[in-house]
Symmetry: C2
Subunit: 205 residues, 2 copies
DNA sequence: GCTCGGTGTCGAGCGATTGGACATACGGTA
DNA sequence: TACCGTATGTCCAATCGCTCGACACCGAGC
């Protein structure tokens, strides 16, 4: 590491490559079952050689995991935006976050692929029995969002709240509901007292 | 062209490099006189070697021109957004476009650098006596915007309208006004009949 | 058992970036 | 005027990442 500190273009290039690759994988996963999406097809879609794809992810397994985490990022971003708009009203923020999340899940082709797969794909374990990395990553991100909007919440509390919310959210990925509305209402009803106590009241906070 | 059609990542990398470089140049130009912004500083800020900067732009002159055009792009994007929101009401779109443009000009550090420079910088000529490329580029972009929102306008008319508006806009870059409001009102008053005739009426159109 | 298609690995080739060198031009100063 | 420090523009060898073709390996289907 004798290089100078700033490598912003190099970094950007690297992340651009990763993003291009994952975007290509995502596109193809939306078109057909994940097991029918070959490494060659992903590389071609991304306009890159197959070798470059292997250089970046090593093998199909890690790519699959990265793809799932990438999709998580999109959900997180959606939730983040919904929360940011309503930071002054925690219960309302909670409701909105649930709403946009469930809606996004219902419309997501990759989620659909996970849920409808016949067991020969490698997707389902990653959001269930092998979901530890996902849970860790997503809850860490969510905790950061909570901390940024409600800094008075203790770190441990934020982490646990995020962990719980992600676990609950994951459940709705694996076992979706047709109409998000009742779920949003119900979960809000359950979590509202807790949110009020920990995050603070509505307009008063 | 024996390669496959898609070279998306490669293309993206190239434009990313250019953008990174221009962004770095812009940042530094906002901090100090353009004259005092060295090629080495730009390269360093972009996280790239000086040679790469020269490979991309050849010399300082072309980089300076590209920087100006890049800044033009930002203004165009601002105007584009303002127009898009009011495509149904041409006079209103015109007013809004003028408003956001003059506001953006007033706040732009690079514009400020152009106007306050002591004559030893190479910026002023590019927006005045040497502004032909700028005028051509900006009016072409603006004409495209006009065409996309009001396709019934003849091409020649759109081009001339764009050319005139850009010339007028350039004037306010070089000779700014402290309060945009009167200018917006006045120019709107002048151009409104023309806009109504060529682009169409308000809610009725 | 054999073939086919996909995975994962390897190496030569190639283009782009790097870091260092250099000549040159300009501004400030004795 | 001569000198000095700095910035520009150019050159080159080394390096890095991507490409392309080749190969062994493995599981599924015939």
């Amino acid at each position: 590491m004798s290089r100078g500190a700033s490598t912003s273009f190099a970094d950007a290039t690297r992340s651009l490559l990763r993003r291009t690759l994952l975007e290509a994988a995502r596109d193809l996963a939306a078109e057909r079952p994940w097991r029918d999406v070959t490494m060659a097809a992903i590389a071609k879609r991304a306009g890159v050689s197959r070798q470059t794809l292997y250089n970046e992810f090593g093998a199909r397994g890690p790519l699959t995991e990265a793809l799932v985490l990438y999709e998580v990022d999109r959900f997180i971003a959606t939730v983040e935006a919904a929360v940011a708009e309503r930071a002054a009203d925690p219960p309302e923020a909670l409701t909105a976050a649930l709403d946009v999340f469930l809606t996004a899940v219902a419309e997501d082709p990759l989620v659909h692929a996970v849920v409808t797969e016949d067991g020969r794909d490698e997707l389902l374990p990653l959001v269930t029995s092998q979901a530890a990395p996902l849970l860790g990553y997503a809850s860490e991100r969510l905790a950061a969002i909570l901390r940024s909007h409600w800094p008075h919440v203790p770190d441990g509390e934020a982490r646990f709240m995020a962990d719980t919310l992600v676990r609950l959210a994951l459940s709705y990925v694996v076992l979706p509901v047709s109409d998000p509305r009742p779920t949003v209402d119900g979960v809000t009803r359950i979590l509202r007292p807790y949110a009020l106590a920990v995050l603070g009241g509505g307009a008063g906070g």
